[in-house]
C-alpha cells in the first residue's frame, strides 16, 4: 500500500552563524540548530517530534512552515517545492498552532476578527459567508456563539488555545504544525485540547506535525514518533513499535525519565549524566556519545546514519540491533 | 574588553570633534564680532584691519582647519573679549565651578538614590506619593526660577544666606541646592522604578529565604541589581548638571566657568565659546565612557559582550 506523502522534508539543515570578533582565531562558529533531517508526513497521519530544549525542534518547525529558509535541503509539499507561486496555497493548507495561548492572539482584535482573519486573507467572502464558515468551527471547538464578540483577555488559557485552533481550522487545512500546544496548560485542560485534536483528526482527516517534549502527550495523539537530539533524528518508529521495542539509548533514557504513577509506566532505570549539550560546540561523531551509557570509540568518531531496523523503525546508532549489544531488543 | 574600550574611545573622540565643529559653524553664523569690539564711529578701514588680524576675512574652510590645527597643537587661542589666553581664563574659574558642581552632584546622587529607595520600598504609601510629586516639581521647575525663589525666601525675607558672591561657605548653600534639585529629582524617579522592578523578581524571595534581613536584601540584591538603569540615569543627568551650572552661576553671580561661557557667547567671543564647549563635550563623553565600562563590572552578563 503506497501512502500519499503530504509533506516531505529533505535533508534540512539550518545553521546560524555566531558573530566573530576580529581578533578571535579559528574558523567561524555556527549554531547547527538542525543538522540534516529528512522526514515524511503522510496524509491523515499525526507525526510526533520529541526532544528536549536545544534539540532544534522549534527551528525545524519554522523551516517546515517556510518562516525561515533552510541553509540546505528543501521542503516539498504534495511533491512540489514551495515557491512564490504556490506559497499562498501552502499557507492556506498548512497552519501552525503555537505554545503560548497568552501571546498568540492579538489582544486588540475580538474573537470574530481573529478567527475570520485567514478568510479575509485567502478568500473574498462576504461577511455572511464568513460567518457561515466560522459558526460550525466554533461548534467544533466547543465554544458558544457569544464568544465571537469578546476579546482574548476575557478567556482562560485553555479557551484561548481553542480560539487559536479555530483560527487555523477556517481555511480547511490539510496539515497542522503544532509547537508544544498544550505545554502551557493545566493538566485537566490539556486533556480536553488533546481530545479536540484527536476529534479533528478523525472528522477532518487532518495531518499533524506535533512537537513536544512530553512523550506521554505525543503517545496519546500520534501515529508515528520521531525523537530528536541536537539537530538530528535519532529514532523514528510507529507508536506501538517505539514503546514496545525502544532501541536508541536516548529514547530509552527519555522513557525512563518520566516519573511513573502506575505500574504499567515503570521502565528500566536509565539515568544520563550531564545536560543536553549546546548546539554551538556539538560533540564529534554521534552527538549523544558523551552521555550514552553504551558509548564506544567509534561513537566519538563517526556520525551514525539512520538505519531501517525493519518495518520502518529507523535508528541512528552504531550498535543497535546487533547481537549482544546492550540496546538490542529489550524494554 | 580591550577592543571594546578602544572602539568606545574612538566613538567618544569622534563625538567631541563633531560637537566642536558644529559649534564652530554655529557661532560664526550668529554674526561678526568686529561690529562691537571697536568703539562706535570706527571706520570701515579699522574694522577691516581688525578682521584681518583675527583671521575672520579668510574663507571658512581655512579658518576651520587653522583653528583645528591650533587646537591639536595645544594652542587654545586668545579671547576676543578678555584679550587673554583662553585656557588660562578657564583654569582660573574651574575651581569655582568644581566647588559648586561636585558637591551638588554628589548630593543629588546620594539623596536621589535614598529617596527613590524609600519610595520604592514603601510604594503606594503617603511618603511615596509625596516624594514622587516633589520629584516632578523638581525637574519641571526651571533652575533660574527656583534660584530666584530661594533668593527671595532666604536672602530677602529671612536674611539667612547671602545671594551672591563666593566669599564663604554660606554662599555655597543656595547655589548648590538649586543646582542639585533637578538631577536629584530624576535620579530619585529612576531609582524608584528600577528598584520596584527588581524587588518583584524571584531572586529577592530567594535571598529572603536564606534568612537575610530585609534591609540587607534590599541593599545587596535590590539596589545592586538596579544599579545599571540608575547609573545610566546618573550619566544622563551630567548634561543637565552642566547646563544647570551655567544658569545657576549667572543667577547667583558665582564666578565660575558657566558665567564665563555665557558672557563669551553674548560677546561673540568665538575662541572662548569653542574651548568651553570643547571641555564640556570632552568631560561628558569621558563620564559616559566610564559608565559604559562600569556596566561590565555591574552586570557580569554584559562582560560576555565585551569579549
Amino acid at each position: 500500500m503506497s501512502r500519499d506523502i503530504l509533506l516531505e522534508a529533505k535533508n534540512i539543515k539550518k545553521y546560524f552563524p555566531v558573530k566573530k570578533k576580529w581578533f578571535q582565531g579559528g574558523p567561524a562558529r555556527t549554531v547547527k540548530a538542525v543538522d540534516g533531517i529528512s522526514l515524511q508526513i503522510f496524509r491523515g497521519e499525526a507525526l510526533g517530534l520529541i526532544g528536549e530544549s536545544g534539540c532544534g525542534k522549534s527551528t525545524f518547525s519554522r523551516v517546515v512552515m517556510q518562516l525561515i529558509p533552510p541553509t540546505e535541503g528543501e521542503v516539498l509539499y504534495n511533491g512540489k517545492p514551495v515557491t512564490g507561486k504556490n506559497i499562498m496555497e501552502f499557507r492556506r493548507r498548512v497552519q501552525m498552532v503555537f505554545q503560548d495561548p497568552y501571546s498568540s492572539l492579538d489582544p486588540r482584535m475580538n474573537v470574530r476578527d481573529i478567527i475570520e482573519e485567514p478568510l479575509r486573507v485567502h478568500t473574498s467572502m462576504t461577511a455572511e459567508e464568513k460567518l457561515a464558515v466560522v459558526k460550525p468551527v466554533l461548534e467544533q471547538i466547543e465554544l458558544p456563539e457569544e464568544t465571537l464578540e469578546k476579546y482574548p483577555h476575557e478567556f482562560s488559557g485553555g479557551q484561548r488555545q481553542r480560539i487559536g485552533i479555530a483560527r487555523v481550522l477556517v481555511t480547511d487545512p490539510e496539515l497542522l504544525v503544532c509547537d508544544e500546544p498544550v505545554s502551557a496548560l493545566d493538566v485537566s485542560i490539556q486533556a480536553s485540547i488533546l481530545n479536540l485534536f484527536k476529534k479533528m483528526q478523525k472528522e477532518r482527516g487532518l495531518s499533524y506535525l506535533f512537537i513536544s517534549h512530553d512523550l506521554s502527550v505525543v503517545k496519546h495523539l500520534c501515529d508515528r514518533i520521531a525523537v530528536m537530539y541536537l539537530g538530528r533524528i535519532v529514532e523514528l518508529a510507529e507508536k506501538k513499535e517505539l514503546f514496545a521495542n525502544t532501541l536508541h539509548p536516548y529514547t530509552r533514557a527519555l522513557m525512563s525519565a518520566i516519573p511513573a504513577i502506575r505500574d504499567s509506566e515503570r521502565r528500566e532505570k536509565i539515568r544520563l549524566q550531564g545536560e543536553p549539550p549546546s548546539p554551538i560546540d556539538p560533540p564529534s561523531g554521534c552527538a549523544f556519545h558523551v552521555r550514552c551509557p553504551y558509548a564506544r570509540a567509534v561513537c566519538a568518531e563517526q556520525v551514525p546514519p539512520l538505519r531501517d531496523m525493519g518495518g520502518g523503525h529507523l535508528v541512528a546508532c552504531h550498535f543497535c540491533g546487533k547481537e549482544g549489544t546492550p540496546c538490542s531488543n529489550s524494554r | 574588553m580591550l577592543q571594546f574600550t578602544v572602539k568606545r574611545l574612538l566613538k567618544g573622540l569622534f563625538c567631541v570633534w563633531f560637537i566642536w565643529s558644529l559649534v564652530f559653524c554655529m557661532v560664526r553664523v550668529t554674526g561678526d564680532p568686529t561690529d562691537w569690539m571697536l568703539p562706535d564711529g570706527a571706520t570701515e578701514e579699522e574694522m577691516m584691519t581688525l578682521r584681518t588680524a583675527l583671521h575672520l576675512d579668510e574663507p571658512m574652510a581655512k579658518q576651520y582647519t587653522d583653528s583645528l590645527t591650533d587646537l591639536l597643537k595645544g594652542n587654545s587661542g586668545e579671547s576676543y573679549y578678555y584679550k587673554r589666553d583662553v585656557a588660562e581664563l578657564y583654569k582660573e574659574r574651574m575651581g569655582a565651578t568644581l566647588t559648586l558642581a561636585i558637591p551638588a552632584f554628589t548630593l543629588a546622587i546620594l539623596i536621589g538614590i535614598f529617596l527613590g529607595t524609600v519610595a520604592a520600598i514603601r510604594h503606594d504609601s503617603l511618603i511615596d506619593r509625596i516624594t514622587m510629586s516633589g520629584a516632578i516639581i523638581g525637574y519641571t521647575l526651571p533652575s533660574f526660577c527656583l534660584g530666584i525663589i530661594l533668593i527671595y525666601i532666604f536672602c530677602l525675607k529671612l536674611r539667612l544666606l547671602p545671594s551672591s558672591g563666593m566669599d564663604s561657605l554660606r554662599n555655597l548653600v543656595l547655589p548648590m541646592v538649586t543646582l542639585a534639585v533637578s538631577p536629584l529629582a530624576t535620579i530619585a524617579r529612576f531609582t524608584r522604578s528600577a528598584l520596584l522592578d527588581v524587588m518583584n523578581r524571584e531572586y529577592i524571595d530567594g535571598a529572603r529565604m536564606k534568612g537575610v534581613s530585609e534591609l540587607a536584601v534590599t541593599i545587596r540584591h535590590g539596589i545592586r541589581n538596579s544599579l545599571i538603569p540608575v547609573v545610566t540615569g546618573i550619566g544622563m543627568q551630567l548634561g543637565t548638571l552642566i547646563g544647570g551650572a551655567v544658569v545657576v552661576e549667572t543667577v547667583f553671580s558665582w564666578p565660575g566657568v558657566g558665567m564665563l561661557l555665557v558672557t563669551a557667547a553674548k560677546e561673540r567671543d568665538f575662541p572662548t565659546v569653542q574651548y568651553g564647549i570643547l571641555m564640556v563635550a570632552f568631560s561628558v563623553n569621558l563620564v559616559n565612557i566610564l559608565i559604559d565600562i562600569s556596566y561590565g563590572y555591574l552586570d557580569p552578563r554584559i562582560r560576555e559582550t565585551f569579549k
Binding site: A191, I261, R262, S264 | G211, S213
Partner: protein
C-alpha cells in the same frame, strides 16, 4: 512520632480591588521528621501560597494570613517578628523555587550566594574559611569540578546546574524542613529525573522532612509518602500516596488521574474535567468543585463540605463520599 511542623487552619486572603480571594482556606496538616508531604493541584489552587504563608514570604500589600497557626516545634511562625523569621529561614526551613535561573541573583557568583546563607546564620564567618564547606556542598549536589565552578555566575550554568546550586544553598545550614516549589517544572525531562533522584538521595541521607509542591502527579508519586490534593484554596483529599493512586475518592482526584495521558496505557479519549476553575470570593457557600463535578447533588450547591477523616489518615471533602465509598 513528634510533629516537627503543625499547621492549623491556615487561611490566607488576597485582597484585590474587585474581591477578596480565599487563596488558602482552612488548611491543616502535620509533618514529622523524615516524612515527605506532597501538595498537588493545578494553577490557582493555592499550593504555592500555602508554602509561602508558612515562612511569611507573602507580599503584605495585598496578602494577609487572616487565621491559623504554623507551629514549628511549638513556636507560631505567623506571629513571629521579622528577625525571628530570618532566624528560621535558611536554617530550620529552606525553600527551593521553580525556575532556578530567576531565583539566583545574576550579579553574584554561585560561591558568594552559597556563602550568603551560611553568613546569615553565622555572622563571623569569612568567605575564605567557608570555601571548603561550599565545595563540599557542591560535590554533594553532584556538580562536577566544583573548584572551577565556584566562581561562575548563574548565567554561565545550565538549568540543571542552577537548580543544584539552589539545593546546595537550601541545604547549607542543615535545615529540618525543605520546601520544594515545583523544583523540576522548568527543567528538561532527563535533567528532571536526575534532580529528583538527587532530592531523594539527599532526603534519605539527611532524613530531612520535605514539602513537595507540584502539579505533576508523577513527580509527586516518585518522592512523597503522603499527599494533599488542593482545589480552589482548600484540601479536597488527603492520604498516603499509595492509597490515593490506588483508590482516589474525590471526584476531582479521579478526574485528574483520568485526564493524564500515560505511556503505559492506550486510551482512545482522555477524561476531561468540564469547565474551568472559577474565581472565588469570600465567603464560599458551596462545594468549590460542584460546577465541574460529575456527581453533584443539591447539597453540594448549598453548603461547603467539611474535610472529614482521621488525623494523619485518609481525609476527604465531599458530601457524597462516606466511609471510603461514594454514596
Amino acid at each position: 512520632m513528634e510533629n516537627l511542623l503543625e499547621v492549623k487552619h491556615l487561611t490566607t486572603y488576597y485582597y484585590t480591588r474587585m474581591r477578596t480571594v480565599p487563596a488558602v482556606d482552612d488548611v491543616s496538616f502535620t509533618l514529622q521528621k523524615g516524612r515527605v508531604l506532597g501538595i498537588v493541584g493545578e494553577s490557582g489552587c493555592g499550593k504555592s501560597t500555602v508554602a509561602r504563608s508558612l515562612v511569611g514570604l507573602i507580599d503584605s500589600s495585598y496578602t494577609k494570613i487572616v487565621r491559623g497557626e504554623v507551629l514549628l516545634r511549638g513556636k507560631d511562625l505567623t506571629k513571629a517578628t521579622p528577625a525571628e523569621l530570618c532566624e528560621v529561614r535558611g536554617k530550620q526551613i529552606s525553600m527551593i523555587f521553580q525556575d532556578p535561573f530567576v531565583s539566583l541573583s545574576p550579579v553574584y557568583t554561585v560561591g558568594d550566594q552559597i556563602f550568603e546563607v551560611m553568613k546569615a546564620h553565622n555572622k563571623n564567618l569569612r568567605y575564605k574559611d567557608a570555601v571548603p564547606a561550599i565545595l563540599d556542598l557542591m560535590r554533594k549536589v553532584e556538580i562536577p569540578s566544583p573548584e572551577q565552578r565556584i566562581n561562575d555566575y548563574p548565567y554561565q550554568m545550565s538549568g540543571g546546574m542552577q537548580q543544584r546550586i539552589m539545593i546546595a544553598i537550601a541545604l547549607a545550614c542543615n535545615p529540618d524542613i525543605l520546601i520544594a516549589d515545583e523544583p523540576t517544572t522548568a527543567l528538561d525531562v532527563t535533567v528532571q529525573a536526575q534532580v529528583l533522584d538527587l532530592l531523594r538521595d539527599l532526603q534519605d541521607e539527611y532524613q530531612m522532612s520535605v514539602i513537595l509542591i507540584s502539579h505533576n502527579l508523577g513527580v509527586i508519586a516518585s518522592l512523597c509518602d503522603h499527599i494533599m490534593i488542593m482545589y480552589g484554596g482548600v484540601v479536597v483529599e488527603e492520604g498516603s500516596t499509595e492509597e490515593i493512586f490506588r483508590n482516589p475518592l474525590h471526584p476531582y482526584t479521579k478526574g485528574l488521574l483520568a485526564s493524564i495521558p500515560s505511556i503505559g496505557e492506550d486510551k482512545e479519549e482522555l477524561y476531561s474535567i468540564r469547565g474551568s476553575v472559577p474565581v472565588f470570593g469570600v465567603p464560599v457557600t458551596r462545594c468549590r468543585f460542584a460546577d465541574r463535578c460529575d456527581y453533584p447533588q443539591e447539597c453540594c450547591f448549598r453548603q461547603e463540605p467539611e474535610l472529614t477523616g482521621p488525623d494523619g489518615g485518609r481525609k476527604i471533602r465531599c458530601f457524597r463520599v462516606k466511609e471510603g465509598k461514594m454514596v
